[in-house]
């Protein structure tokens, strides 16, 4: 009986040690940011889409302005 009680106490003690060890592992800070790749992907994709939109808008504007200026100087009319 005494032996069984002693074994139970040892088991309980071992469990406590394991729980403490697990807690210690959980509290170790993760090295680096696990989400940095997601943040990077979001910002890069946004930058690419906005850059494309701005580039095409300004290029179309430049083309239209030049074409209008050329046609007006050709005497095709007034704008």
């Amino acid at each position: 009986m005494t032996c069984l009680t002693g074994m139970a106490a040892m088991a309980a003690g071992a469990g406590q040690v394991v729980a403490q060890a697990a807690q210690t592992v959980e509290s170790v800070p993760v090295v680096g940011d696990p989400y940095v790749a997601y943040v990077f992907a979001a910002y890069i994709s946004t930058a690419v889409i906005l850059a494309g939109l701005i580039w095409t808008s300004l290029a179309a504007s430049r083309r239209a302005r030049r074409a209008l200026a050329r046609d007006q100087t050709d005497g095709k009319g007034t704008a």
């Binding site: 989400y35 979001a42 939109l53 300004l58 046609d71 009319g77």
Partner: protein, 242 residues
């Protein structure tokens, strides 16, 4: 002084000319400040650093829906009052709205993978935003497919109005159905403040920055459309007198 004088293309070009460069400068400054601030906020206790994605996702999603609303209003004005500038503003806004919708969908997916454990879900809001994106594409395709600009303007405006229901659903789906996407974090709710000031203030700055950028691009595109219309008129006149 009537607001309808702005519907005159020459008047519109004259009034907007001095606004273009200041808007671009302001947009650049605000974007730099907003994004810089957004990237420097601390990690959220639940979302970690993915919280930094909201500074792109929320303004882009707002603009995606509000641009469609602007197009719908411009289309109604164009159809009722026959103002070409209204049609051209709707046409100019469509690619911008589509771009912001694409940004909202992509950044939402990139945020959803680590937080929801899925890139995509057929959730009410996500699905209605995707359908709205297809309406943007369809609207642009219809403008491009019809040669007669007046007929293209009318038919595209009707298509735009048909798609309004999905812009409405994209905005309010989270209130009608309880699905995966959470309700708005910024709206006044009975539960109180849902977002900490550390994130709220830079988010507001990013929203203002995106709106200024939107108007800068919109002005450039609308002015381009007016120039192209003038050019077409010149060519038609030249053909008539040749």
């Amino acid at each position: 002084m009537s607001i309808w004088r702005y519907a005159n293309p020459a008047e519109f070009m004259r009034i907007t000319a001095p606004l273009v460069v200041p808007l671009w400068v302001l947009a650049g400054l605000l974007i730099a400040a907003g994004i810089g601030w957004g990237l420097s906020v601390p990690a959220d206790y639940q979302q970690g650093s993915t919280v930094k994605i909201i500074f792109l996702h929320v303004p882009a999603a707002m603009l995606a829906i509000n641009t469609y609303a602007l197009m719908a209003v411009a289309s109604v004005i164009g159809l009722v009052r026959r103002h070409h500038v209204s049609f051209l503003i709707a046409k100019a806004a469509a690619p911008i709205g589509a771009a912001f919708t694409a940004i909202a969908i992509i950044t939402g997916a990139v945020w959803g993978q680590p937080i929801w454990n899925t890139w995509w879900e057929w959730d009410a809001r996500l699905t209605s935003v995707l359908i709205m994106f297809f309406f943007y594409l369809g609207y642009m395709a219809l403008w491009a497919a019809i040669e007669d600009p007046d007929k293209a303007a009318d038919l595209s405006a009707v298509l735009c109005l048909v798609g309004v229901i999905f812009a409405f659903l994209a905005r309010y789906a989270v209130r009608f159905w309880t699905t995966l996407h959470q309700d708005s974090s910024l709206s006044a709710v009975e539960a109180g403040q849902r977002i900490d000031d550390a994130f709220r203030t830079p988010l507001y700055l990013c929203m203002v920055a995106f709106y200024v950028l939107f108007f800068a691009i919109l002005l450039v595109r609308a002015r381009t459309e007016i120039r192209l219309r003038r050019l077409r008129a010149l060519h038609v006149a030249q053909g008539a007198y040749a």
